[in-house]
């Protein structure tokens, strides 16, 4: 029997991993987009302490390899008495890590907004949260759309690292299939195909959203 036939026969395993990957990606993508958007507030704050703390967080995340960060959360934190199961540790790692990236790219997009547009918000009586929510955030999201798409794809790829803490996601299930039946080529190609499918879907969705956003920026 060919390698691919073996994979096809055990497709339930691969699809189970794929399903888990989609859940992980959806949760971390939505969560890091929301947290990243909120993070822009301290990143753009006039308060130097607040801004410094937020910038330090972003810089730290950008300098730590994701794999090491996952190790730290799952294997390191128990030494401090903080213990997560592998799913929780994995999703928290993806969230904390990618929120920093999302926050930074949204901050850059905010800094690029025409200043008058925000001043008009002030001049018409907007302030605080209402100014952020109604005047600043929507154009920031519209103009950052292509970068958000890139980051979502990054989340898909980062999720594969969670195999090292035994989260049953796509890479993990593909690995277990190949070690059980010794079909490395076919099981990894199957996994790659499903990652590719996910990324193409994200790109397509962002492309569609981009057309919608085009006349709104």
């Amino acid at each position: 029997m060919s390698e691919f036939a073996v994979v096809w026969q055990h497709r339930d395993l691969i699809l189970h991993g794929f399903e888990n990957t989609l859940i992980i990606v959806a949760l971390s993508a939505a969560g890091s987009l929301v947290l990243g958007a909120l993070l822009t507030i301290p990143l753009m704050s006039r308060n130097a302490v607040l801004r410094g703390a937020a910038t330090a967080y972003v810089d730290t995340m950008r300098c730590v390899p994701f794999l090491l960060f996952v190790y730290l959360l799952y294997f390191g934190l128990p030494s401090l008495g903080l213990r997560f199961d592998n799913w929780t540790a994995g999703i928290i790692a993806l969230l904390i890590y990618n929120s920093a990236y999302m926050g930074e790219l949204l901050r850059a997009s905010w800094a690029d907004l025409p200043k008058e547009q925000i001043e008009a918000g002030h001049a018409f009586g907007f302030s605080g949260w209402r100014l952020f929510r109604r005047i600043i955030l929507p154009p920031v999201l519209f103009s950052a759309l292509p970068l958000i798409g890139n980051q979502l794809i990054q989340i898909v790829k980062d999720s594969a690292f969670l195999t090292i803490i035994a989260v049953a996601e796509l890479t993990h299930e593909a690995t277990s299939l190949q070690t059980t039946y010794f079909v490395p080529f076919a099981s990894f190609v199957a996994a790659v195909f499903l990652y590719w499918l996910t990324c193409v879907t994200i790109e397509g969705t962002i492309g569609y959203a981009n057309r919608y956003a085009e006349e709104r920026r």
């Binding site: 009586g125 085009e214 709104r216």
Partner: protein, 271 residues
């Protein structure tokens, strides 16, 4: 130093004096670092008046306008809106809370040089946004008024367009309608035609002229001398952070008192 800032104001502008003062600037000063932009500026704007601020680039007129609604915080002096201090808590020198300042700003309209429409909203949404979400007014009622305003500035057919699809002149007319929707006590115009193609300037000035005629209180920073001459009740000429002279347009354009104003006008006459 001769205080040229206040002297011309003591000359009563005939008939205008009966009307209440909407906006007052008293002894205002502002610097950016070592660069002094406004020096002891005092100015009163009465209800229904159109005051044009003229002067060469860098004379401080835009900064003065931006200080009027505290988009720029002055270093000294006061701005009063209907007799109330702007930007400063009553009975103190403490900065007003953002919320109180925002509430005060709803009474002052502003039209920007680069339009500053919100790009993610349609024309209609741009006009309705602040009345609905800041003033918390009834949406259906605001919509009716917004549609009437668009009719008035000749853009009823562009209601559902996004700003990106409009010409500069159209954008600026939306900008004016957006200000009018707030029913402000006064509208500040910051070089409203400076970033327009020459052939689009007229359509914006016409709308402004109609507003002036209808008795809207307006402060206009402009380089459009013919507008200032034909529409303003009073022109204020600034240079180097001072008000050099101020008076009715016939006087200012016919017989300017200062050398600086004469030079300034001569440059415009040469084109």
């Amino acid at each position: 130093m001769l205080n040229v800032a206040t002297a011309p104001l003591q000359q009563p502008a005939v008939a205008a004096d009966e009307r209440p003062v909407v906006l007052e600037v008293a002894g205002l000063s502002k610097s950016f670092g070592a660069n002094v932009v406004l020096r002891d500026i005092s100015l009163q704007v009465r209800k229904g008046e159109t005051v044009c601020l003229l002067g060469p680039s860098g004379s401080g007129k835009s900064t003065l306008l931006r200080c009027m609604n505290w988009l720029e915080e002055p270093d000294g002096g006061a701005v009063l809106l209907g007799g109330q201090r702007v930007g400063v808590r009553p009975g103190s020198n403490l900065r007003m809370s953002d919320r109180d300042l925002a509430a005060m700003r709803t009474r002052v309209g502003m039209v920007f040089q680069h339009f500053a429409l919100w790009p993610h909203m349609t024309v209609l949404q741009n006009i309705m946004e602040a009345p609905v979400h800041v003033l918390k007014r009834n949406k259906a009622e605001v919509r009716r008024e917004a549609e009437a305003l668009l009719q008035r500035v000749g853009l009823a057919d562009k209601m559902d367009s996004f700003p990106a699809r409009l010409s500069g002149g159209q954008k600026q007319r939306v900008g004016i309608a957006r200000s009018l929707a707030m029913k402000p006590d006064v509208i500040l115009f910051d070089e409203p035609t400076s970033s327009l193609d020459p052939e689009l300037v007229g359509e914006v000035l016409n709308v402004m002229q109609d507003l002036a005629r209808e008795g809207m209180t307006m402060v206009v920073v402009t380089h459009e001398m013919s507008f200032a001459r034909d529409v303003a009740n009073r022109v204020v000429f600034m240079d180097g952070g001072y008000i050099v002279e101020s008076g009715v347009p016939e006087e200012f354009f016919g017989a300017p008192k200062s050398d600086r104003a004469r030079q300034f006008l001569a440059r415009y006459a040469r084109g």
